[in-house]
């Protein structure tokens, strides 16, 4: 059966081209792979190869023709035993769509359906994190994290932890202290200094059925591994149509410590929070560290668990329970109030809570919300609070441009505009690389006074 040779699309964007030169003539025998013609696109001149064997029966578009549309027949190929006379009554070639037919197959014109997320605000979950009357114990964030890791490794033998100095050194920040002795070198694994490589090995291990906890000595070093986190871990479930993903946790200290300079002091919350496929956790209190970490290990998705070196040594009350978890996407009202909503997470909570105490002395009753997880985000708790207080200040240690605070501010404007009595103010770190000098570093970071000043501005008291 005679086959039409169609003007090919030679690049993702090509719609038409110039048939620059025929390299065959009517009557020539061609085999698959032979060059038939040269075609000029706006980018390059490309050779066009035969796909089938046969004889060139007729050339329909002469060389030198410009503006030949993709999918127009440019020649007819005859199979063994056919002659040019067959061309006229040649049936439409099988497996070839004419350009006219093509659009019919085009997708529905279609507006994409709305995502589930911005649906009418769900009601805030105000259930307590643990039953009333539960026995409490004072623990540092470090101890809470250590016990959470150990409990999850105890619970599931496919959970393992890898990273630099996590085993024999007992952790650069002692988060993994004692784990090597308890679980052995098979499950507590020292890696060479090779973040990109071990992050990728972690992703592969997760594809292969394990549950890796990958420690970055600090998240500053995760920049070396960014491609594996975003392109491999976060996107595979989607790209595979749900067949496989990377259930794993990337954890480590994030943000400024103290006097460690620009390359060791960045807060990456906004970077990771912008990525669909990742979950992002950034707790403040020890109980949240513990409950959320255990949830992170059990979650079937890649989770970014952002810790803070300054908080590691701080003590908080933690419930004494055999198995205690906190769900993602549930913010916590850390201090109830009526006059203004202060929203923060991670170390920002330190300034938010301190500001709230001082403001109370001035007669301003602030409600402080600890977001705890940044993706998924508990918008409902924030919106309900803003509807009550009509004012909002966000507190974040990171840089101000394209920050999580920016997103929250925009969300509040879109969903509670009529309730606002003042613009939302984002109190962020300064828009500078972190300086080393003690006085300059202090100036670059968020301060309690700045939070107080922002609250006074939104309550028109300044």
């Amino acid at each position: 059966m005679a086959t039409e040779i169609l003007m090919p699309a030679l690049s993702p964007t090509m719609e038409e081209g110039t048939l620059a030169k025929w390299l065959v003539k009517e009557g020539d025998t061609v085999s698959s792979g032979d060059i038939l013609a040269e075609i000029e696109t706006d980018k390059a001149t490309m050779e066009f190869e035969a796909v089938d064997d046969g004889t060139i029966g007729k050339i329909l578009v002469p060389e030198g023709t410009e503006g030949v549309k993709v999918n127009v027949a440019i020649a007819v190929l005859l199979e063994e035993g056919e002659s040019a006379d067959d061309i006229e009554d040649a049936a439409p070639p099988s497996g070839v769509e004419t350009p006219d037919e093509a659009p019919a197959k085009a997708p529905a014109e279609a507006k994409a359906p709305e995502p589930e997320a911005p649906a009418p605000a769900p009601k805030a979950d105000t259930s307590p994190d643990w039953p009333e009357g539960t026995e409490m114990k004072t623990m540092t964030v470090r101890e809470a994290l250590n016990s959470a890791i150990a409990e999850e490794m105890e619970r599931d033998e496919n959970v393992f932890i890898m990273g630099e100095e996590v085993a024999e050194y007992q952790g650069a920040y002692k988060i993994t202290q004692g784990l090597l002795d308890r679980f052995g070198a098979k499950r507590v694994i020292d890696t060479p200094i090779t973040e990109h490589g071990f992050a990728g090995i972690g992703v592969g291990a997760a594809f292969g059925g394990l549950k890796p906890i990958v420690e970055f000595m600090t998240f500053n070093f995760s920049m070396q591994a960014m491609d594996q986190i975003i392109n491999s871990a976060a996107k595979t479930l989607y790209m595979s149509g749900g067949q496989m993903g990377a259930p794993m946790v990337f954890r480590g200290p994030n943000g400024a410590a103290a006097r460690v300079g620009a390359q060791h002091s960045q807060d990456y919350a906004a970077w990771f929070s912008s990525v669909p496929g990742l979950k992002v956790v950034m707790p403040h209190a020890a109980a949240d560290y513990k409950g959320l970490f255990k949830t992170a290990v059990r979650d079937p998705n890649p989770v970014i668990f952002l810790e803070n070196e300054i908080l590691y040594g701080r003590s908080f009350e933690v419930p004494v329970l055999d198995d205690f978890t906190i769900p993602f996407g549930k913010a916590k009202i850390a201090r109830a109030g009526a006059d203004v909503t202060i929203v923060s997470w991670g170390i920002g909570m330190t300034y938010a809570l301190e500001a709230a105490e001082k403001l109370a002395e001035d007669g301003v009753d602030a409600e402080v919300i600890d977001m705890r997880t940044l993706r998924p985000m508990d918008y409902a708790t924030v919106i309900e609070s803003v509807k009550k207080t009509n004012r909002c200040v966000t507190v974040e240690e990171a840089w101000p441009v394209a920050s999580v605070s920016n997103h929250l501010g925009a969300y509040i404007m879109q969903n509670a505009f009529d309730y606002l009595d003042a613009p939302v103010i984002n109190v962020c770190g300064k828009d500078v690389p972190m300086p080393y000098a003690a006085n300059l570093e202090k100036l670059a970071l968020v301060t309690t006074d700045e939070v107080i000043a922002a609250v006074k501005a939104v309550t028109y008291r300044s």
């Binding site: 030679l10 059925g209 149509g241």
Partner: protein, 338 residues
């Protein structure tokens, strides 16, 4: 067809030869059809064809056992067909349809099959190398004796993460075969213009990883080397490197004007070293098959490929709801080697 000497002594059954011929031909015809559908605008974006390299995956799959894993780059159609994935599902993914392996959400570069232990389809050059070592890590951890084939090109061999992975794979004795498919051109840059290393497999020596160079236009040579590499890994001796010298006939992707090499160079390869012609000649010369037998196989394969193309055209585009699915997993089975 020029005569040639096979590197491998043909200690191989007619049945096996026929199987290799069939599998390589399927890849060749499938890719030709994909090129055609691309030309018709039915396949979009990037489309990297495997024509010329068929002996690499067919030879290595012949050396692999059930349950072994594989992971590769974006030039992945051949790997999927060779490990037994359905041509219909692969072609329908190329056309971005519901019947594709990723329901049209992955495309040419991003397909996966849990059932066939195919872990992608990765678009970032060399990212699949640590992932392959990670799969091997999981197998070792779980105590099964599976081996992972981690394929990458000679272009990827200059990425840092390859060497980070070599180091850890040898340090931890991971059962992974690093397969360098050296087709001589990283997009438009010939290997000679990207490194002074005389051979790429020898770089593994710096980490203590053994390896060898293999004639990638000879499926029997590939299979023999693959068997050696796989048994090295399965015996718990750690990773192994195969640098397989091959050649791609087509451009880097469909939109490659191919000005970096001469037409004669390509033609010479096709005429003298074609891996399919090689086996075809062996079959005919050894009287294992007649011209008619081979014609019948050609026809059979052509039908399989045409069916896949029909399926890929008829399969509907994914439902619009699919935009919002598979972003997060609700449940992923744990504790099993998948």
């Amino acid at each position: 067809m020029a005569t040639r000497k096979s590197a491998a002594k043909p200690n191989v059954s007619a049945e096996e030869l026929m199987k290799h011929y069939r599998e390589m031909l399927l890849i060749r015809r499938f890719e030709e059809k994909a090129g055609q559908l691309y030309g018709m605008g039915l396949i979009g974006g990037f489309c990297h064809l495997y024509i010329g390299q068929e002996a690499v995956v067919v030879g290595l799959e012949a050396a692999a056992e059930e349950g072994d894993k594989r992971v590769t780059s974006y030039r992945d159609h051949g790997h999927m067909l060779a490990c037994g994935m359905d041509p219909k599902g692969v072609m329908a993914e190329l056309t971005g349809r519901e019947g594709g392996y990723s329901q049209g959400k992955g495309g040419s570069m991003h397909m996966f099959s849990k059932e066939k232990h195919f872990y992608g389809g990765h678009g970032i050059v060399a990212a699949q190398v640590p992932i392959g070592a990670g799969l091997a890590f999981a197998d070792k951890y779980l105590g099964n004796d599976r081996v992972t084939l981690a394929y990458f090109g000679e272009g990827a061999a200059n990425q840092g993460q390859v060497y980070e992975t070599y180091n850890m794979a040898e340090l931890w004795d991971l059962p992974v075969v690093f397969v360098i498919e050296n087709n001589q051109y990283a997009m438009g840059t010939s290997v000679k213009r990207s490194t002074k290393s005389p051979s790429l497999w020898e770089r593994g020596g710096a980490y203590g990883i053994p390896g060898e160079e293999v004639d990638g236009m000879d499926v029997l040579a590939v299979k023999a080397a693959g068997e050696k590499a796989v048994s090295h890994c399965r015996a718990g001796k750690g990773p192994y490197i195969l640098e397989i010298k091959t050649y791609r006939y087509r451009g880097h992707s469909m939109s490659d004007p191919a000005k970096y090499r001469t037409r004669d160079e390509v033609q010479k390869m096709r005429d003298e070293r074609d891996p399919i012609e090689h086996i075809r000649t062996m079959l005919l010369n050894g009287k294992h098959a007649s011209e008619e037998d081979l014609k019948a196989i050609d026809k059979e394969i052509k039908d399989v490929v045409n069916d896949s193309a029909e399926f890929a055209k008829e399969s509907p585009e994914p439902s619009l709801d699919e935009l919002w699915t598979d972003i997060y997993a609700k449940e992923v089975p744990q504790g099993e080697a998948i």
